[in-house]
Each structure stands twice: as C-alpha cells, then as structure tokens.
Amino acid sequence: MADAGKSGLQVTLKDVHRIFPPAVVAVDGVSLSIASGDFVAFLGPSGCGKSTLLRIIAGLDQPDQGQAIIGPDHFCPAFGCDTPLDVAYVFQDPCLLPWRTVLDNAALPLELHNHPKSVRRQQAAAVLEQLGLADALERYPNQLSGGMRMRVSLARALITNPKLLLLDEPFAALDAITRQKLDEMLRHLWLTRNMTILFVTHSISEATFLAQRAIVFSRRPARVVLDHAIDLPQERTVQLRADPTFARHMASLQQALTLEEVEQ
C-alpha cells in the first residue's frame, strides 16, 4: 500500500485513560500509533474496553486523561470539535432506520450534511451497487437478510468516502458463510479505497484474515498485550485460512489471549 499514505488518516493515542463513574476503569493508559492506510484489528475478551477505545477515536467519547489524535494535524480533544466526514463508524447491529428504504438509509450521512436529494441518492445508488445491492434500492430493511442489512450499513459508512473506517464487531451476529463473504468484501474495499481501518473483533481467525496488524488487549481495563504484524499476501481468499502461515499467526494471537486468561 505505497499510495495509501496519501489519504488514509493516521491515528495516535497518547496514554489514553477512560474511567466510567463511579470507578470502572475501561481503558488504562493505551498508547498506539496507527499508520495512515493501515488495517488494524483490535482483539480482546468481550467487554475489555476495546469498543470504548473505538468510541474515543471516533470522538463519541472523550478520554479522562491522555489524547486521541486523528490525522497528522487534526486534533480532536473532546466532544464539540467539528466531527469530520472523514470518519465513519459501523456498529454491531446494522442500525438501519426501518421507515426508510435501502437507498435513503445509505444516503443518510449526506442528508445530514444537507447535500441535495438528487446528489445524495445518486451517490448512495453507486455505493450500494458496489456492495452488490443494486436490486434492493427501493426495499425496506425488514425485507432484507442479516447479511444484506450489514452491507447497507457498510454502504452508509462508505458514502462519505471516509479516510478512517471504524468497525465495532460488525459481523459478529452473522452466520459463518455470510461472515466470510463480508470479510472478503471488506478486505477488497480496503485494497481499492484509500482508508485506514480499525476493526474490533473477538474472533482470532477474522482478525488474522482481515488485518495487516493485530493488537491484543487485556481484560478490562484495556492495556496492549501484543502488537503483532500479519504479513500475509495482499489478496486474501478463503483458501488462505488453510495455509500454515495463517495458522502460525493465529497461534501467536491465541497464545497472547490465553496468557491473558490465565493471568486473571
């Protein structure tokens, strides 16, 4: 990804702490530097604080101590700063608006930024087509399968051409086959668009398949346990999962997670 550096946002965390009242320490001094255009998986036990970290990076929550710096110069100290359209967030649930068609759901971010109707619909249709939803534009979310809903959710995130895409266990509720397809789709999207991706998951194999770099977090409060580079080929297909190098990467991540279990 030589050219990715041109436009993906870089993320720098400096000694980030987050304590929820009264005294639940969710994040305990995390410092990280994520290069622009990288694909990083955040791995860790459920409820370890990795989602909190993602929310802080998105500017939806603020650290009690430390800083989250997005981009080379954009400094987002807290709420209230101009949230740039450069950041997109995909949730665990598709979180679609049931009263809107697929097209109008995907167009929502542009609508909230007052783009004219014709422009935003045209762009939404283009993104939805890229994600294989060209036939579903006028359908409503309740007429879609779980995998299709997630793809609409992805389309909504991609419509602004984000430079930083944050995903919080987006495919966790889907069946294995749909999940694999969406993993491949996401990997392809990353290769064809210039964006940094942070992907929260608790699936070791998903993290290995998707990411260039996996960061393993401890149980709450979240601290970095392992920072592991995944130097697998750029083009990844399902066959890769049977590869011995794939298994070796998985084993390293598994070991870090297991050690974390034993310590507790």
């Binding site: 939806l60 665990q92 608006l97 049931p98 909230l112 309740n142």
Partner: protein, 295 residues
C-alpha cells in the same frame, strides 16, 4: 425381491389389481372432502372458528333475555328485550345523530390530544430538568377522575360542545403524552451516536431520528386514547351538554326507556370500536415496514 415377484403366477396378480382400485379410491375420497371444504373461501375457514363462538354466545344470551322479559320474569322497564334495542337502533335517527355528535367531539379531542400530547412530550424530553419539574403533575393530573373535573369545566366553559371536547381531551391526552415520552427516551443509542458523528444537531436528530423512532409508541398511546376519548365525551355530555349519546342516556332514564339507554350504550361501544379500528388502520399504514424488524 423383484425376481420372486416375476416368478408369481398370473392368478396372484388379480388380488393386486383389486387392491389398486381400492387404494386409488382413498385419494378420491379425501379429494371429495377437501373440495367440499374448499367451497368455503380459505380465509373464512381460518376466521369462522374465531368469529362463530362469540356470535353463538350473543345469539343464545339474546334469545334467553328475550324469553325472560317477554314471559314477565324480568321487568321490561329494567331490562329491555334485545329486539326492542335493535328496533331503536334500526329506527331512531335521533340516536345515530347523537352518536355522530359524540363521535365528532371524540375525534376533535383525539386530534387535540395527539398534537398537544406529542408537543408536550417533545418539550418534556428536551431537558431532564423540564421532565423532572413537570412530569409529576402530568401523572397527578391523570389520576384525578374526569367525573370530578367535569362540573368545573361547565363553570369555566359553559354548556356546549367546547366542554364536551375539553372533557374528552383531558382523559385522552395522558396516554399519548406518556407513550410518546417513552418512545423519545428509548431511541437506539448507536443511532444517536451515528447522528452525532455526522454532526446532526438536536432538532435534526429529533425530527429525523427520535420522533420517527417513537411512532410505534405514539400509536400504542393513541389506541388507548381512542377509547378514553369516547368515555370522556359521554361524561362531558352527561354534565355539560345537550347533545350526543350521553344526553340521550340522561334523558331516557327518567322516561323509563331502557331500550333507548341500551341502544345508546351499544352505539357508544361501536363508536369506540370504530375509532380503535381507525387508529389501527393508520398504525398499520405507518408501521408496515417495521414488522419482523423489532431488534
């Protein structure tokens, strides 16, 4: 197996042939049964076991009452014969006009409750302190019986439709207010985050997210409010009006006309049902795309 079959003498095949027509007669028999059942439209076969039992109960009880009153066991000035109630409903245009007046008051009150109730809920949801300061009074207000307030309404508003509408409005606003407020408070927090991420302000989030998310709750509130509005209108007519079903009931009792009273009661119930059905229809139209969704 097949070889042993081939070795069977020809004589053994005749019972087989006899059995085959008998076997094929069975499907014919079941076909005959299903075709006679299919003569009834498919939907009726599903509905009749639901509709038939209560209709049978109604017919039997009505017939019993009719016999008891006609034979003099029950006095006709206490309990009317079902046939005389039906006759009143069929012949008295007065009663239908009265039902129309009550219905109009109830619908106006329901419309007011919808607008004011939703408006008040939005105001209460705008800030925590507003809700804390005012909501207890809304709850308290709701517990005061309408029959106790109605004479006061006459003092303030005089006799007439305005008092009837006010009475129906007072009893029907609370379910709309409470349900709308609950709906506005229960917006999916992830979606609130999403709107925040894209820089949507309070009004945009309210109009494009929180209010539409609350529509199922609003419809639930309106279903309760519809029945209450009819009750409130009739109470208003008892005390502060000279029109409507309430007035017909008040006038019929001293004249010892239980047939009119029962006919008015039946019409009032039908009115409540009709309003409820109307709200259900609107609800279905608005929420068609939500079904099988509730996540």
């Amino acid at each position: 197996m097949s070889t042993s079959h081939q070795q069977l003498p020809a004589g053994h095949q005749t019972p087989d042939h006899h059995q085959h027509p008998a076997g094929s007669a069975n499907p014919r028999l079941t076909n005959g049964l299903t075709s006679s059942a299919a003569a009834m439209p498919a939907r009726w076969r599903g509905i009749s076991p639901i509709v038939l039992p209560p209709v049978i109960v109604l017919v039997v009880i009505s017939a019993l009452l009719e016999i008891l009153v006609r034979s003099g066991v029950l006095w006709a000035y206490i309990v009317p014969t079902p046939s005389s109630v039906l006759e009143q409903m069929g012949t008295s245009s007065r009663l239908w006009i009265a039902a129309g007046q009550t219905g109009l008051s109830a619908i106006i009150a329901l419309a007011l409750s919808t607008v004011v109730g939703i408006g008040a809920a939005i105001a209460l949801a705008s800030a925590r302190w507003v809700e804390r300061a005012f909501y207890p009074y809304a709850v308290f207000f709701q517990t005061v019986p309408i029959i106790a307030i109605a004479p006061l309404l006459v003092v303030y508003l005089g006799y007439g439709m305005q008092t009837i509408v006010a009475s129906a409005f007072i009893v029907s606003i609370f379910p709309v207010l409470a349900n709308t407020l609950a709906g506005l408070r229960s917006t999916n927090p992830s979606l609130v985050d999403l709107f925040q991420l894209y820089g949507a302000g309070g009004w945009k989030t309210l109009w494009k997210l929180r209010f539409p998310s609350a529509v199922p709750n609003i419809m639930t509130g309106l279903k309760v409010a519809a029945g209450l509005a009819v009750i409130g209108a009739i109470v208003g007519e008892f005390i502060g009006g000279s029109t409507g079903l309430g007035d017909e009931i008040v006038a019929a009792i001293p004249r010892q006309r239980p047939d009119i009273v029962y006919a008015a009661i039946t019409l009032a119930a039908l009115l409540g049902l009709a309003l409820f059905a109307l709200i259900n229809l609107i609800s279905w139209l608005l929420l068609r795309h939500w079904h099988a969704w509730q996540q």
